[in-house]
Symmetry: C2
Subunit: 437 residues, 2 copies
């Protein structure tokens, strides 16, 4: 890293040239890959409230220290624990067939096996329009397929099936909800994600793999009723204290606002949380490490926040927002990496400062990143400080493939392209440096 | 079908024009798709010796009749039953991790949980070279990856890991064998297939999903021993009588040799046997149905044979060969569809008759099928009559994607391209017509 420091001095210390050096150094650096390899190998799945949640926190603290961060600390986050214990489903008539399903995060259990006829609707709108008499006593199946889009916008279109439909079905008297997995793949691996019950209207809710949903649809085209048996056992009631893990590179002017980069440390239980969000953890930790290793001190403090329990309640983000929104040192900008493992193609929602945006545009352009003027969206954790007024930005990633693996057992290390990972680190490091100076 | 009969008469009844008409008619026909849709929906997985094996036999008999075949009959095939009861595996040290595995067909059970350190080898050659002292008391892991090739030849290169390695490991004192799944995908779905024990050297044998094998390899690069716990329960000992199901279009000259098209009716238990070998069942049944519907009687009888238990013993093929090799009406040619769901690109191993090969070349050329002069291989069931001297041919399919899904839970209807299926039916119908006349 000495060579870099020398080069930085040689080419002047103005922010733009240092940002460009950080960018180029990151494109040849393997720190991020080694981080996500270690997180997925040595810790693995780390659902909020599990033993691995604690292991992940310890891992993150140790890694921040090893990477040379100036300040490493944790902030407690307490939440109710939801744990998948067992889940199974099968068609019992007209022909016996096994179904591959997974309970949605937060689902209530079925209290033993539950058996009922299936009634299918294409989406939440069709379910809302259905008469309670048609739904009463049945298992509701929602069948809409998610569209593949480079910006991942197909997800928002089907998300109400997972988040909102269970309570709608419950209020019409349904006994359980099954949904086509929110995914763009055709693997027999269901995709989990959290369900949100409204006003206590809670029935068991599970996602069915795509090919198994196809099978149910074909059986439902027959003349005989399709009966499904569902058995979901969950463990709830306990409370757990996890931690947001924070690492900082202390700035020269510590009373100024911080530049915050976030990701979430927890993951779902089915895969190993490589893409969601081991990738983001690795990108932000490595980007901070690049800055530290540059041997130039940024003007503002660079803060990397690894949030607790994003997946099943956003508890870490809420705790962070409550604690830090009114900090003396509040946020210069907050940015989050939690949208898959694709390359970044756009930077959005940056301050309207022509000197700054000119620098950002020039430094990011060689990475294929444009300031495309789109409005953008904050990351899911950053959204909570954004709501309280913190400035935020988005480094928008190509998400065309994200939903092939998202929230399924397939979220494993092999789904990460090391070159795309390095491009992300380069962008975050350069962006953070320019925002910090 | 009347229009076709009229057209056939209008353009003369010589074999080539009728073959061309059958080909073109098949390209617009949905019979095959409806067959494989029904087999995978109404029967599903049909492992040899299961209740679904019987359901599949009844399904095939009924469908042959419904398709207008002149003669439909079954021939008994008796074999020992192997049934998967339960299987699980996990890494117990240095970190607890769940592994996604599946027992190989024919594997012995573990007699309860079995726990041992893992020793990895790249392939069978490396295992053979290992000293028994290194292997003794351990679980052997074979890690070689299968290469993706259009002709599927990557499979043969890794097949000994599945078929032969267990006994080699057993003779060196290993307690169990794990292999990287024989597949070209990166899904967390293990691929099964049969193990062959040699001389009673039997230890539990299972396939690990690709990403889980990656994890084991990463853990093994660490300094601490990697311990795995494996629990495989199987059910063996019973004998079962299934049936080869045969449908015939009776020829004008029934004392002449038959034209035989084969596929296997059984499947593995994990998927629904759509590609392997519902596709072949649909292709051959539909090709015969096209010939029947042409309202012209072929000179030779066209026989479609759906073999019992190809997957776990070739028992149907052996019974058929023993019974029919010496038939008065023996085989003009035997051909089999059991190499995935890809398009056919070559016809191989046809009789050296210039008039016949000229016709075949001209009729198949519009389908993108060439008589490329390669030696070819008989299908796995046809190989048994071929060994006894029956002439055979190969309609070679593109198998670049076959091993993404082969023998895994992912072998479902959505993996079949209806257009490729129709191209296969067109080729089989035209080929059979030309061979029968
Ligand atoms: Zn996430
Ligand atoms: Zn997520
Ligand atoms: Zn097969
Ligand atoms: Zn097979």
């Amino acid at each position: 890293f000495c060579a870099l420091a020398v080069l930085a001095r040689a080419s002047g210390t103005e922010p733009e040239s240092t940002a460009a050096l950080l960018r180029d150094r990151a494109l040849a650096d393997t720190t991020a890959y080694r981080l996500v390899e270690s997180l997925t190998t040595d810790v693995g799945a780390r659902p909020a409230g599990s033993a691995a949640d604690g292991a992940a926190v310890a891992w993150a603290v140790a890694r921040f220290h090893a990477l040379g961060y100036d300040k490493v600390y944790t902030e407690p986050v307490t939440f109710p624990v939801w744990r998948r214990v067992a889940e199974s489903a099968s068609v019992t008539g007209p022909v016996p067939r096994r179904l591959l399903i997974t309970a949605l995060g937060g689902s209530v259990g079925s209290g033993g096996p539950l058996q009922a006829d299936v009634i299918a609707f294409e989406d939440v709108q069709a379910l809302q329009a259905a008469s309670p008499a048609a739904v009463q006593g049945r298992i509701v199946l929602l069948t809409r397929r998610m569209a593949r889009r480079a910006d991942g916008s197909g997800y928002a279109a089907v998300l109400p099936m997972r988040s909102a439909a269970a309570s709608i079905a419950a209020r019409k008297g349904a006994r359980a909800l099954l949904i086509r997995s929110l995914g763009t793949d055709n693997n027999r691996l269901p995709h989990t994600g959290s369900v949100v019950y409204e006003g206590g209207a809670a029935i068991p809710a599970a996602a069915v793999s795509g090919p198994d949903t196809d099978l149910l649809e074909r059986l439902l085209r027959g003349t005989r009723p399709v009966e499904v048996r569902l058995d979901i056992e969950v463990d709830t009631g306990a409370r757990y204290t996890s931690y947001n893990v924070i690492g900082e590179i202390t700035g020269r002017e510590p009373t100024r606002e911080v530049v915050m980069m976030g990701a979430h440390l927890d993951s779902w239980d089915l895969g190993t949380g490589a893409v969601d969000d081991g990738f983001g953890v690795a990108v932000t930790m490595a980007a901070g490490a690049m800055i530290k290793a540059a041997h130039q001190v940024p003007a503002r403090t660079v803060r990397v926040v690894l949030f607790a329990n994003e997946e099943n309640g956003f508890d870490g983000a809420q705790a962070y927002a409550a604690r830090h929104a009114a900090d003396r040192a509040s946020h210069r900008i907050a940015v989050e990496s939690d949208w898959g493992a694709g390359r970044i193609y756009a930077l959005r929602h940056v301050p309207a400062d022509p000197v700054l945006t000119g620098r950002l545009a020039r430094v990011l352009q060689p990475l294929g990143i444009a300031l495309d003027g789109a409005e953008g969206v904050p990351g899911p954790d950053v959204a909570f400080v954004a709501k309280r007024g913190a400035p935020w930005a988005q480094l928008a990633q190509d998400a065309a493939d994200l939903f092939d693996h998202h929230h399924s057992a397939n979220d494993t290390l092999d789904k990460i392209d090391p070159a795309a990972l390095r491009q992300n680190v380069a962008a975050y490091a350069a962006f953070a440096w320019l925002m910090a100076n």
